[in-house]
Symmetry: C2
Subunit: 262 residues, 2 copies
Amino acid sequence: MPPTDRIRDHAGQGATTVAAHRARRRLRADRARQLADLLRRQLLTDGFPDGAFPHESTLATEYRASRNTVRQALDLLRAEGLVERLPGVGTVVVAQKFPHGLDRLMGLAETLREHGRVTNEVRTMGPVAAPAPVADRLRVTPGADVLYIERLRRLNGLPLSLDLTYIPLDLGTALLGADLENTDVFRLLEAITGQRLGQAEITLEAVNADANSAAVLEAPRGAAVLMLERLTHLADGRPVDLEFIRFRGDRITMSGLLHRAL
Amino acid sequence: MPPTDRIRDHAGQGATTVAAHRARRRLRADRARQLADLLRRQLLTDGFPDGAFPHESTLATEYRASRNTVRQALDLLRAEGLVERLPGVGTVVVAQKFPHGLDRLMGLAETLREHGRVTNEVRTMGPVAAPAPVADRLRVTPGADVLYIERLRRLNGLPLSLDLTYIPLDLGTALLGADLENTDVFRLLEAITGQRLGQAEITLEAVNADANSAAVLEAPRGAAVLMLERLTHLADGRPVDLEFIRFRGDRITMSGLLHRAL
């Protein structure tokens, strides 16, 4: 029992002790989060190049934190699957998050080129009658066929994202024989149309993975997923690619620049 | 038991039946996800203005899906806390996600202006010795004091985000007496410096909330959180505001436009 608690107990202030204890515990949890966020940053930006964290006591000195706070902060990163504690070794980085650009419209293989090879497992591919919200966004007749593709995308063999894609059938037909396993749909669409892509409307959300999505992504049930909805247009303005993408939260970050003035 | 199973069982192909059954279940789960993503989109963009979903049979016809798939899709949205099934009423929207702009650097109150009033509970505020990664990014001497602020931010009283903020002390001192409860730090920094903000480097991640963060945000433990790290500069390039923000995943979306050409 910490000394302050003992003093309060001796004074017979049981209720106050409980409240004080709770307040201290909350404060320690707050401090652990504060420290974890700083360590997370270093971890994501390769601040520990050899993959090994400094010793707890070094971190405690560096961050002017108690050993308890340091331990609790490392526990938070461990719960996220970013680090592990190895007996006799210390805390090591076990997961890597890959940076997906938010500044420019890019396919996955393009944006992760320097990090390795993207391969795609095509789980489903074929024409479906476009439901109203799909038809509306792709500007096709509701009920007309569009190409539906479902892909599990991997980086160096590790599952990264599950992509549900709708493409107007005139372009989709040309995709049927393409090398979807090894090529971004973006590249293929540019090759088919002989036109560059223009812009895309994107919406990002954080959601807990449902059981099936988690299983496909080989992530724990309920794992945080970065969900991206994206409607991509050709340079001439025609919408050609509607996607619903679930990125594993522990494997992807999205980075970019925002400007105050437009 | 569906007829096909029965036929296979009669043929004595038990193992095949199990495999076929699993494949069908997976396929149904895939279809449910596919439908849920389309309904999610409508829900988020106010496609059900009165807050009530069409009847299951209407959805089944509209989306050419089985009643089972429709039910399973609604279950997925329910598990995310977006809808509820009310006896005698049907499925209704119970949560609203608010759109945070990704196109322009804005404070929370600014970006959500049309959705209601943002209030901030200041949980902690005071000088702390800048740890190396903070000092480095804010370009102050390591160990020099910076102002640390921790705020729980609410929209119309509902917890939206937990923000950890570091600000150089020369600007931070002026913030101490400011109305942080009702004003974005961005606005205050512009008022203090007489300068517009310039740009910000942002990184987005999806993480599962730890117990303490979840409790503060009044969300379930493990709830998906949209985590934003943001370093904001003044127009003259000086970094003045480093933030670690946890947005409740069920209350915020981030939307913007990406361009293929830079």
